[in-house]
Symmetry: C2
Subunit: 349 residues, 2 copies
C-alpha cells in the first residue's frame, strides 16, 4: 500500500535486519547465546527473524506474549519474571507442555507456587533472579542466590537452571564478582550452574566484561530509539522504528502541532529533553504531549512546517510505542508499506 | 467471572454511572448541552450510557473513534480536531453520510481541505477552534476567529457552526471576554454563532463563569483519576477505574514490586509524585516503572505486602490507561467481573 494514514508506526525492515545481524554477530563472537527480548516488537515475524539469525530462543516478559509466540511456532521461551497465582501457573503448565519453557524466581514463595504447579509435570527449569545492583527484583546476595538454588533443586517439579540478572550499567566488575561468587557457592553445594543470563541493549558495548554470562537478552537493539541515539549507542540510520505524523496546525510562527500525542509516543522521557526526535529537524523540540497532539517548539529551528506536512519521529522509547498500535507498517523499500499485526500487543497478563 | 488475571483494568460501574449523572445534572442546571469526550473510555456501552443520561451527542478526538461509535449507533459526533489529508477527508465524508458530524478548524488550509471534500455533499458544520489561552491549536484572536468564520461560511460544502475551545484553568474571565468578543464580531458580520463549545473535567467547578458557552465536552469525569483526586476535584469513591495488580516480589523490607508497569499505568505524571495511588496504602509510593514492573517504596508505610497480594491502583491519568487494554472488566457488584471490549482502543488515526 501507499503511505499509511497517520499517526503510524513504520518499521524500516532493512535497518531492523541489520540490527539483528550486528548484535547477533557481536554476542556470538563473545561466545554468548543470544535470546532476544521480544517485548520491544511483540511480533512473531521478527521473533522468527531473530531465531533465523542464530538466537537460541526468545525471552518474553509476560505469559500472554509467550502464548502468542508459542502459537507462532517459537520453541524455546524464557520468562525472566516471577510467575505468581493459580491462573498464571495453570497457563505456564499449558505452555510448558508444548514448548521448552524456563522462568526465573527470587523467593521461596514463588518457588513454592511453581513447584506445586509442576509436581506432576516434567521438571521446569528455574533460574534464580539476582539483584546485581539494578534494585528491582532479585535475591540480594550471592549467598542468598546459592540458598534459593538449593531450594529450587530440592523442590518437586523443578530443576535449577542457573542465574538471571538485569545488570546495572557501568558496573560490570561488580556484577561479575557477584555472579562468579554465586556460581562458586552453587557449585560448592554440588549443583551445576550452566546458564547465566544477562539482559539489556544499552550495555551491549560492555557486556564482554561480565565473563560469567552464558546468554544475553537484548530487546531494544532490534529497533533502537532516541534514548540509545542520545547515549551514542546507535546512529540515526539504525533507528528502525519511526512514528509517521502529520502537521495539523501552525497556530503561531514558532509552534507546530502534530497528530501524534501521548497515545502514539507515550510520556516516557528516559531522562531526555522532549518526547521524540523529528527526523531532519533535530532543533525542533517536541516539548509537550496532549493525548492526540504533539506540541513542537520551533524557537531554535529554521524549519517552517505547513499544515499537511508529514514527518517521521524517532520516539524516546521504542518498546512502549510498539505496544500502542494494533499494527505497524513494514517498509521494504522507500515506497511500499505492508501492514503487519502486532501479534502480542497488549498481552500484558 | 471471578477476579481477572492481573494487571487488569476494573471499572466500578455504579461509580461511573454516578459520575455521569452528577456531571450531567450539574451542566444541565447551567443550561449547557453535554457532549462527553469518549477518549477517556473508548467504549460504546459507556457512550450510550452518557447519551441515555441526557448528552446531546459525543465528542471523539479521532476519526477511528468516531467510526467505531457510529457503528455502535451513536448519531451525533463532534471531532474537535483539524482533519487533514485526502484519506482522512474521505473517511469524514463517509461518516457524515451516516451520522450527524461536525468538526473544528483553525486555519484556511484546513478549511480548504474540508471544503474540497464536501463540495458535493450536504454542508458540514465547522466550528472555529479558538486558542483562549491553552496554547495548543486555535486561532489567536477574536478578530481572527471572526475572519475564519466568514471564510467557512463562504466555503462550498461547509456551514459555520460556532466556536470551540479548550479553555485554560483558572482564567474564566479572560476566556469569557475572548469568546464574547468573537461572538459579537461574528454576529456583526451577519453570521449566527449559536454553538460555543468548551471542554474539560478539571474546570467543571468554574465552567459556569464562561457564560457564552452553550455546550461542554468533559471526558475524564466518567472515571476520574489520581490527578483529579490530588486536585481535590473528586473523592476516592468517585474513581471508577482502577488497575488491579499483584505483588510479585518483596526483595528487601521496604521495596515491593508489582506486575503493573508502564505498559499498564503509562508514564504520565501530570505533575504528581509517583505513578499511581495504591488503594488503602496511600503512603506506599510507586516511585518508578519498568515496562512490566511497578517499583513501590514502602519507606513511609507500615504496609507489609506479601508475594501474591492483590491491590488496586488509581492511575494518574485514566484516559491513557484505557487505551492500553483490549478489554476492561466491569464490576457490577463486589464479586462479579464482566469482560468488556474497549471498542475504540488504539483507533488513533
Amino acid at each position: 500500500m501507499a503511505v499509511p494514514d497517520t499517526p503510524a508506526v513504520v518499521i524500516d525492515v532493512a535497518a531492523a535486519k541489520a540490527n539483528i545481524a550486528r548484535v547477533q554477530g557481536h554476542l556470538s563472537a563473545l561466545g554468548l547465546d543470544v535470546r532476544p527480548h521480544i517485548k520491544t516488537h511483540r511480533l512473531a515475524r521478527l521473533a522468527k527473524a531473530q531465531i533465523e539469525a542464530g538466537a537460541v530462543g526468545i525471552c518474553c516478559q509476560k505469559l500472554g506474549e509467550a502464548e502468542v509466540m508459542a502459537d507462532a511456532g517459537i520453541g524455546d521461551i524464557l520468562i525472566p519474571y516471577n510467575i505468581v497465582g493459580a491462573r498464571k501457573l495453570d497457563r505456564l503448565v499449558a505452555l510448558a507442555r508444548r514448548v521448552a519453557m524456563s522462568v526465573s524466581a527470587d523467593s521461596d514463595a514463588v518457588v513454592q507456587g511453581l513447584s506445586g504447579a509442576f509436581v506432576d509435570e516434567p521438571p521446569l527449569p528455574v533460574l534464580v533472579e539476582c539483584d546485581t545492583g539494578a534494585g528491582r527484583c532479585g535475591v540480594q546476595s550471592p549467598k542468598a542466590a546459592a540458598r534459593l538454588a538449593q531450594v529450587i533443586a530440592a523442590s518437586p517439579g523443578l530443576s535449577f537452571a542457573g542465574l538471571m540478572t538485569y545488570p546495572p550499567m557501568g558496573r560490570t566488575a561488580e556484577v561479575e564478582d557477584w555472579l562468579s561468587d554465586a556460581r562458586h557457592r552453587i557449585e560448592a553445594a554440588g549443583l551445576k550452574c550452566s546458564r547465566i543470563s544477562t539482559g539489556g541493549t544499552p550495555n551491549l558495548h560492555e557486556i564482554a566484561e561480565i565473563k560469567s554470562a552464558t546468554e544475553h537478552r537484548p530487546g531494544t537493539y532490534i529497533y533502537n530509539d532516541r534514548s540509545l541515539l542520545a547515549a551514542g549507542l546507535c546512529a540515526p540510520g539504525d533507528c528502525a522504528l519511526t512514528v509517521l505524523s502529520t502537521v495539523v496546525s501552525c497556530p503561531v510562527e514558532k509552534r507546530a502541532i502534530l497528530d501524534a500525542g501521548s497515545k502514539a509516543l507515550t510520556s516516557d522521557l528516559l531522562g531526555l529533553d522532549g518526547y521524540g526526535l523529528i527526523v531532519g529537524h533535530p532543533e525542533a523540540r517536541i516539548t509537550a504531549l496532549s493525548e492526540e497532539h504533539g506540541h513542537v517548539d520551533l524557537g531554535g529551528s529554521d524549519w517552517h512546517p505547513k499544515v499537511g506536512d508529514q514527518i517521521a519521529i524517532i520516539p524516546n522509547h521504542a518498546c512502549v510505542v510498539s505496544n500502542l498500535f494494533d499494527r505497524v507498517f513494514f517498509r521494504q523499500s522507500g515506497t511500499t508499506y505492508e501492514p503487519v499485526a502486532v501479534d502480542a500487543r497488549g498481552r500484558s497478563t
